[in-house]
Symmetry: C2
Amino acid sequence: MAGHVTYREVKATILDRIKGGAWPPGALLPSEVELAAEFGTARATVSRAMRDLVEDGLVERKRKAGTRVRKMPLRQARLDIPLVRVEVEDQGAVYRYALVASHVGAAPDWLRARMGLPGGGEVRHILCMHFADGQPYQFEDRWISLDSAPDARAADFTAEGPNEWLVRQVPYSNVEISFSATAADAEQAQHLGCALGDALFRVERQTSWDGRELTFVRLTYHRGYRMTARY
Amino acid sequence: MAGHVTYREVKATILDRIKGGAWPPGALLPSEVELAAEFGTARATVSRAMRDLVEDGLVERKRKAGTRVRKMPLRQARLDIPLVRVEVEDQGAVYRYALVASHVGAAPDWLRARMGLPGGGEVRHILCMHFADGQPYQFEDRWISLDSAPDARAADFTAEGPNEWLVRQVPYSNVEISFSATAADAEQAQHLGCALGDALFRVERQTSWDGRELTFVRLTYHRGYRMTARY
DNA sequence: TAGTGGTCTAGACCACATT
DNA sequence: ATGTGGTCTAGACCACTAA
């Protein structure tokens, strides 16, 4: 007796039919029972293949209505958000971290508004640099709420960046991330070794945990930085 | 008899234990058989929950070695890549498209190198604009290989952008996408209504199908544009 | 070699949305 | 009312890999 038909094979076959035009955009696919009979598998196997296709954004399923090929295939890129250190080391470069400045004080108004902090809250403000093979890679401008993370007051960020420290303290948090372009100000230009006004790639990230706002960070990358993905 | 324990409940319970610190980063979880016994479910149900947790980047599994909580939870953002028109309309704004220029000619050297086109290939070059409520939203600078997509030679891009046309012609393609910052050149500044040298957010996308390079596009967004995601 | 996850089966019941 | 997908079960065999 030959081996079973795998869900991967089923998926591949269906994929070929969709990409080949046998089932064009908008078309209704046969039901799981029919496909299972055609492929000679259990219905669960077809179901497993279909779940993958839904996740890949190629197909839409509704009870009773059946499975249809998406008219516009849903395109989504998965973007890995690694630690800077890992990102640099993955490029085969030597990573170096340096603390620029750090101090504790009252949260400025714009930050309280942005993070939704209550009045009178204290924050720790940290500026630091990440280098790749000695070249400026990323300038980090971070604010940590001391109400939410009191341990950050005394933490030592001279040898290790605040990001790695935070990930260890609070491994599971909710993040809102945004990407934009910004013109280098004097401080950024100095640290990143570029001209005033140069166009720089910027990431802003706000992290919360258990409904409490933890930290807001603005990461500015060296001139010419690109973030790349495939899908 | 009460209903079955669902895989969602199993997943939620495991998630709570991980986030609550009962199973700290690096810890070895009980085997599927043990968990199934504890929860009173079939092993397949635990397996289903675990597969979700792997996908969420919280857990790593290896045969024989078992399931471990990831030391550094894998963070990845899912970025939807919609059509500009849809992106604009989802913001409740009125979308307008305008063709700026279009012509057919030999592919310039930099483009042939970038796309990996053979020598002597012809391309169609299209410049166009996308507006939201009358305001400049995105400037599109696109090259389409006429070797790979001969129908693009005669296609009419006065009423509809080349992106929507391409998605209809070739719904299933492979894409490499990159994000960066750029300083506005004269043409971009004029079309986007900003100053020369302004920092602009830029997306570059290269699309292939069946191993053939189809199109390369450079999308430059209006000043202040942000791309946002949560994870 | 033994223990773990990965997958398939055959059957069942349920939830949901269309009719 | 009915047909579809969504899920669970109990059991089985397999693939991988750590010990």
